[in-house]
Structure formats: structure tokens, C-alpha cells
Assembly symmetry: C2
């Protein structure tokens, strides 16, 4: 109470910003970042392990980005094979890879989930599979059409082209994922794209559908991340790192303050749950520009969950994990240990719900957390203190505390895990 009175009497709240006096000059922080960036770009080579490099006790299945013409010819060969099978009296059946949980596996060396090679038959001449095989044939036909026209559509468009057959979108969506696996290509190679949600701003130049985009000249709004990654190219950057931000509000603060000009970086956000377009875009940046990725998420189990989706994929698209995931994302903040370290006031912390605590405990059992002792320590602390906090909680020290003190100090101290 006494503290509170004292605070109200001051003209400015700037004096109370914890650790502001610890900040070194920007030039010194930039030196630290340059070392980090160089180390990261050279160390990322041994990281580029593929399934082929490993001697696993079973065969695994992965998909790749294929060109439209390869997708087209893959469909044509598949149909030809089936025609042969029909003519030779062996009937009409699709060989469909299993995408069930039992067929999924986390591979520690790759740090992502992959599919094992179990598959099943989907014969047309069987009452239990006739509908699904008809849907499969129809989806193949529609994708073939997209290849010929060279256009992109959404899953919803696909569904509406034959509502009578598909009945509901869950059915056409599921078969679409089957078709990806069957053809051995990513869903984006099929020219079926997700709605766009993410935005990017900062030291990045790239081409979107032939137009050159300079992300330092995108004002505060930023550039909407394109839904079709295959038309994104020519990435150039003088950034030292990529800053992945969970929330829109923090993104806005950094964009308005042009944080990327003080510390050369690329700032990207999916505004909450990561969508496929943003995940593909992040991966492409990381791969082509060889930059380290630092993540700024809420200090709660969902913040870490979001980090994990970017980092090692979601379970229902595990067949595509190699193309959707960005390895080696560092957890910059807001981490549970930051709450005390940065003296976040009690009233800006939120009590975790029963569900939060359960989610946190479950995550402690996940491979992607366990492999990083620092993360285990932080998550254990969160579950023990039963407290969470949003990135916005830093506003308690002033609206620009995030961009002017918290992040610069984090970078200066290389305080990421």
C-alpha cells in the first residue's frame, strides 16, 4: 500500500522499470547477436538430418514439396496403375498410408513426429470402403484439375465442388490428407491452401506471386503472410535473428517501435495458434536465411504448446512434419522464471486453472520438452508456483518496457533456452 502511494506521486513510471540500468549500449548487444547469428548459421548444417541418414528399426514415410507437374504425373501414374489392375482382373483399390496415432512416432534425432510405413487397402468392391474409394478418386481428379489450371483453392472450395458425394467437409478433408501421403507430397504441393492469418515485418525482402515485398516498408500493419508458399521466393535479409511472437498486441508494439531497426531482425506472428501458412513461411525463412529463431510467448502451458507446434509439429499432420516444422527454436520469454526475475507484480500474474496445471504436467511427459533440461526446469517451476502471465503483463512497467528494456536485456544476456 505504501509502495502504491509512492508510485502515484511520481511524475513518470520510467524510473521504476526493473533492470533498465543494466542495459549496455546497443553496439555491445549487437556484437553478442552477431556471434549468435554466425554460430547458428554454421551449426545448422549438422542439424539437417533426414530420415535417410538414420538407421531406424522400421521404415518411415515422409512427404516432400513437389512441383505441380510432378504431382500431376504422380496422379497419372497412380491412375494408370489402377487401370492396369482392373484390366488384369485384380480390381480397383487404393493403397492408403495409415495416419493413425499408432503409426506415428517421435524421432529424437530429427526432433519431430514422423509416420511409420503401415498402410491399408481401400477397395472399391467392398461395401465398407466403396464410398471412401469413390471420394479418393474424385479428390485425385480435382487435384489434377488444379495442376492443369495452376490455381490454389481452400479445403472449403474443394468440398463444395461435390457436396453430394462428400456429404460433409470432414470427409473431403480427411481424404485430402490421405492423398498427400499417397502421392508423397505436402498438402501445399496439392495447391490446397489454408486461410492466411500471419503477418511479417522487419528486415526481409521476398517475392509474393511475382511482386517484390520489402518488409521494412510495411508500416505498422506489416505484410500478410501469403497462403501459397510455393509462390514465395527470393528471400533476402540482413537480420541477425527471427523473432517469433505469439500475440498480436506484442507484435504491434514491436512493429510501431520499429524494433527491427534497432536490432536487425524479422518479426513474425500467427496471432495465436500457428496456422499452416505461417509455419511454412517460418521454416522457409529459417532454411533459406539460416537465422536463429527466438520465441516470445505467454508464460503458460499454451505458450509452450505453440512453441512446440512450430518446433516439432502437430499430431494430425505428422506425415508432413519435415516441411512444416522449424528446428531449434529458442525459448526467449516470457518464461516462468522471468516472473520473479523481472519482478512482475502479483496482481499481473494469473492463477493457473486445474486444466492449465494438467496440461502443464502432461507436457512434462512430452519428448520435445524432456530433451531440453532448461525447458523442464521452467515448466516444473510453472506447475509448482501455479502462476501464469501474458506477454502484456510487462506493460505494468510502461507501455514500451517490452521493446525498450525486456527484449534488449534478454538479447544482451543471451537469456534464451
Amino acid at each position: 500500500m505504501a509502495d502504491n502511494k509512492k508510485r502515484r506521486r511520481k511524475d513518470s513510471i520510467d524510473d521504476e522499470q526493473p533492470f533498465k540500468n543494466k542495459l549496455k549500449p546497443d553496439a555491445s548487444i549487437l556484437e553478442t547477436l552477431k556471434d549468435f547469428s554466425t554460430a547458428s548459421s554454421s551449426s545448422s548444417v549438422p542439424h539437417a538430418l533426414t530420415l535417410q541418414d538414420l538407421t531406424l528399426p522400421f521404415r518411415c514415410r515422409e512427404v516432400a514439396d513437389l512441383s505441380l507437374s510432378s504431382v500431376q504425373s504422380n496422379i497419372e501414374s497412380l491412375i494408370l496403375k489402377i487401370a492396369h489392375s482392373i484390366i488384369s482382373g485384380q480390381g480397383f483399390s487404393f493403397d492408403v498410408p495409415s495416419r493413425s496415432a499408432a503409426n506415428q512416432l517421435y524421432v529424437a534425432e530429427l526432433d519431430r513426429i514422423v509416420l511409420k510405413d503401415k498402410s491399408s487397402q481401400r477397395p472399391f468392391a467392398n461395401i465398407s470402403t466403396v464410398r471412401k474409394s469413390a471420394i479418393t478418386a474424385r479428390i485425385l481428379q480435382l487435384i489434377h484439375q488444379l495442376c492443369l489450371k495452376g490455381i490454389h483453392v481452400t479445403k472449403r472450395d474443394l468440398f463444395y465442388t461435390d457436396v453430394k458425394l462428400f456429404q460433409d467437409q470432414i470427409q473431403s478433408d480427411a481424404v485430402l490428407d490421405d492423398v498427400s501421403c499417397m502421392l508423397g507430397c505436402t498438402r501445399s504441393s496439392l495447391n490446397v491452401v489454408a486461410a492466411e492469418k500471419g503477418v511479417v515485418v522487419g528486415r526481409l525482402i521476398f517475392s509474393d506471386n511475382g511482386d517484390m515485398i520489402d518488409c521494412t516498408k510495411m508500416g505498422m500493419g506489416g505484410k500478410a503472410i501469403p497462403p501459397n508458399i510455393d509462390r514465395v521466393g527470393d528471400m533476402q535479409s540482413d537480420a541477425l535473428f527471427i523473432l517469433l511472437v505469439e500475440k498480436d498486441a506484442a507484435y504491434m508494439r514491436l512493429a510501431e517501435d520499429r524494433f527491427y531497426n534497432r536490432f536487425p531482425c524479422i518479426i513474425v506472428t500467427a496471432k495465436g495458434q500457428p496456422d499452416v501458412s505461417t509455419r511454412l513461411f517460418l521454416r522457409k525463412m529459417k532454411t533459406e536465411l539460416k537465422l536463429p529463431v527466438l520465441a516470445l510467448v505467454d508464460s503458460d502451458p499454451y505458450g509452450l504448446k505453440i512453441l512446440s507446434v512450430y518446433g516439432c509439429g502437430s499430431k494430425n499432420m505428422s506425415y508432413d512434419s519435415a516441411n512444416l516444422t522449424t528446428p531449434d527454436i529458442k525459448w526467449l520469454g516470457v518464461r516462468p522464471s522471468d516472473l520473479d526475475k523481472y519482478k512482475i507484480p502479483e496482481q499481473c500474474r494469473l492463477p493457473m486453472t486445474e486444466q492449465d496445471i494438467k496440461t502443464g504436467k502432461d507436457m512434462l511427459e512430452e519428448d520435445f520438452v524432456k530433451k531440453n533440461p532448461g525447458w523442464v526446469e521452467e515448466l516444473t517451476l510453472m506447475v509448482k508456483t501455479k502462476q501464469k502471465a501474458e506477454i502484456q503483463a510487462l506493460s505494468t512497467f510502461g507501455f514500451q518496457y517490452l521493446s525498450e528494456v525486456y527484449l534488449p536485456l534478454k538479447l544482451q544476456q543471451k537469456d534464451w533456452l
Copy 2:
């Protein structure tokens, strides 16, 4: 069933696109649009009625866009007045305009909702209002700080600057709206902005925070609409109309096909529910460029509801309706009568739920629907047939039916209401 078999045998589904043969050459459609655009820009002058022009039987309250320095001096005068009141022994109290439904009114001449001038006292020396008046003083102080720093923050940031006092965000949000009304300015004038959600693409050049943006060179992703409308300016365009699209998927189709190059237009979407940033941006385009606005929404009560929010505002921000609404939006499609006209197959239509039907019937009673006989007719048809359809339903005639047949024909026939 016979139809279905026949369809499967064809090589292409293009032949089955209804009305494709009715399309005239683009040059002829462009002539129609030029006439419409010219008529619209000259007719929009008498439309610019303000509250001052009307002789209403009571006083109304509206807010205006104010510069940061005006907001700052308004706050300073307000506080000075209160200081005088305290010194002269009359105590400390805020005079707060009422934003309740009883104080709201739809004004047909303006075609939007406004606030009547009822207000109430919020004294500090009263147990029932002491907290609210303390919150009001604190919000005024924080806004004053934003004015001095010239930065933008979100409502969430504002809340976190004093969680102990505000307790939960609903309280700081509500007082923020009070403060807008008290100062007579829009919420965006306070530099408190909403999260951005919308995107824009097409024949528009504008400046965002000092950067010039050419929306014909934004690829398929488009430009994210900036959260802070006060830093948007220098709008230039050779478009003939603005196409307001409800959904992301339809937006994507039009952006990829560069529809705006065939029929010069600006395409904008909020991806569902209209957010404040997109509404402000649409209004600014309409006002500065004097272009007609055509809306493409789902054929269901919510599509029309969305149109109404753009057109005449939402109830809880009625004090700001003059700045947030775009008058004279035309309902281009998808309209209930289009379902039969364009032969949308039965299986692509969806049955309306009880709730849908109730919403539809309620809307028939709303002033903004009643003033447009064409809309009443369409909505009555919807409620009678109990059928709805999404924009995507047009994909049943081919993925590009929307951009290649439906919209061009709509434009050619001036088929809007």
C-alpha cells in the same frame, strides 16, 4: 442420378457453368461500371448529412477524430475544471455520457445509430462510484501519457498497466469507452487500437506509418490493414469500386486471379466479423476516394448482419457510429434469390437452423433493413425457403466460377441492391 452420370463423363465441367454464355465483353462491363462509379461519386455529396443538418427533437452526442494534441488539451482542461470544482468546495465528480440502449437511437436520415445526450454524475465521494471515478482518473492519466509519447497500445496493454486498480479488463474497457464520449473523440483518437485482422489488395496506393504501399504489388497475401488509422493517408486509386468480401477463401480466389486488374477495384476483407480497424479503413477509402462499395457475403442472416455492422454500426459503439460506418453499401451477393437464379444445386444449400430463422425474422424488424425494400424482399425469401448458402457454394460450378462468371455477370447486370 442420370444427370450425375452424364456429368462424370465430360472432360471439363466448364460447359455446365450457368450463364457463362450471357457474359458480354469486358469492355462493355467496364462502361457500365464507369457510369456507376461516376454516379456514385457525385451522389455521395447529398448523402453526407451530419447531426447538425437535422432538426431532431432532442440533442444527440457524437464523437470526432481529434488530433493527439487536442486530446491532450481536452484532458488537461477537464482535469483543470475538476481541480477548480474541488477548490471551490464542490467536490470531485466526472460528468459521464450514458451509453445504455435507452440512450441509443437509429436516425434514418443518417442511416446509423447515435447517442442521445443523457449523462450521469460519477462523484468520487460516493461509495457506489468511488472505484469507477478512480478508474476514470487513471485511464485519463494513461491516455495523457500516450499523447505525450505519441505511441499506440491495445486495450489489453492498458489493462495491464494497473491490474490492481482495474481488477479485470471489462472494467478498464468500459471506462475507456466512457472517456471517448467524455472527451468527444473516437477511441482511435485516444491511440488505443484494436488487433488487426483485415487485408486489402488491388488498385490502391496509401501510406502506412510513412511507408508508401502499392496494393497491386502485394502478391496473393495482400497488405495487412494497419491498426492505427491515424497513420494511414495519401490514398490514391484508379479503381471503379470497392469490393467488400466477407470471407477469406473468396478473397484469396479474387487476389490470386488478380480480379482487380480485369475490373479495376479494391478488394478488402476482415475475414469474418468486421473489426474496428477494417471498418475505419473502409470508411476512409469510401470518403477519400468516393467509390461505391459492393458487398459479397454469405447468403445467411449473419452475412446481412455483417453488412449492417459495416453500414450502420454495432450497438455497443454507437457513440462512434459517424466514424466507423460506411454509408450506402450495396448488397451484391450472394443473395437468397441467387440460389435459384444461378441454379445452386440443392446439396450445396444448407437448411437454416431455428436460431438462423429467428435471427432472420428479427432482422426484418430492424430499421436498416426496412428502409431498403429490395433487402426486405430478399430476407423474406430466405426466411420463407429456410435455405442458406456460403459464397463457396459457387465452387460447385468450378473453382473460378466466382471470379470468371458470377461476379462479372453481376457487374454487367448491375445486379446489386
